[in-house]
């Protein structure tokens, strides 16, 4: 597999990888680094890629695992401050979103969800994968994916209703 063949097969889902990484790592810079790192890994393992029926699902699984590793090492080294630093950089984007009908509330609500529900929402409601694929990516049975997704959707909706009714942000 040469470089252009490789890129042809993996570049179409680059933004999906990036968005998944951003969902988990929060900051754009970190998500970009993670995306770069993931493509390095894929490139180094390019001979094995032919063995995978679904390279995209494989890449998403790798992204998820890589981001979890990053989060773990961050927690281990107590770099929680870095997290808040990055948030400030994103304020421009956040205000942009805020202008559009409080959609940023949804962002925060998803951020508060348990990791698995966060992933399921990202993969289903944003990237629109089917349950089979999500199950493969997260190593879950499709029914478990449904359960997590249902919980996540209900939580987000409930919180939004609460905030709209009582004016709490």
């Amino acid at each position: 597999m040469n470089q252009s063949d490789f890129l042809k097969s993996v570049l179409p889902f680059k933004d999906k990888v990036f968005r998944l990484a951003k969902r988990l790592l929060v900051s754009t810079e970190e998500a970009e680094d993670a995306t770069q790192e993931l493509y390095f890994k894929l490139w180094r393992n390019k001979e094995k890629l032919a063995n995978y029926k679904n390279v995209e699902a494989f890449a998403m699984t790798m992204t998820k695992n890589y981001c979890f590793d990053r989060l773990k090492s961050k927690q281990a080294s107590n770099l929680t401050l870095v997290h808040s630093n990055y948030k400030e950089k994103d304020t421009a984007l956040e205000t942009k979103i805020e202008q559009r009908d409080s959609v940023s509330q949804v962002h925060e609500l998803i951020d508060k969800l348990p990791e698995q529900q966060k992933l399921v929402i990202q993969l289903r409601d944003i990237e629109e994968y089917d349950f089979e694929e999500i199950g493969k990516m997260l190593d879950l049975k499709p029914t478990a994916v449904r359960v997590a997704l249902s919980r996540a959707r209900k939580t987000i909706r409930q919180e939004l209703v609460k905030q709209h009714n009582y004016g709490i942000i």
């Binding site: 933004d15 390095f40 629109e128 997704l149 909706r157 709209h164």
Partner: protein, 139 residues
Amino acid sequence: MELSKIEQLLEKYLNAETNLQEEATLKNYFSTGDVAPHLQEYESMFGYFAISKAETSAKPIQLNTKKKNWKWLSVAASVALLVSVYVGNGYLKEQEARAQYAEVMSTLKLLSTSLNKGNEAMASLYVYEDTVNKIFKTK
């Protein structure tokens, strides 16, 4: 799309029983901006999903690490060049100095041999003078 149908779909949606097509229908409905007031929380949700999906990574992917190495290589090369210019310059100066030294030395040698020749000639003159004096005294 009738409102009752949307409400039905939303019920299924919350239970994660909708398929991708039905979810597309919902996304479509909530992107029109004409949403029933009691469903506004869904408008925020689906609006957020649409915005998120549009986000892209601006950074291009690089597969070659060599580029980074080239940077370091150029730094190393420039350092090597500087060092070699410095050392070479010193060597050149030394060579020049040696050449000048050799030239001066050969000139001095020439001078000294000429002087020696003069001395020898002088020595024979002295001998001549001595002899002359001897002759005149003995006279």
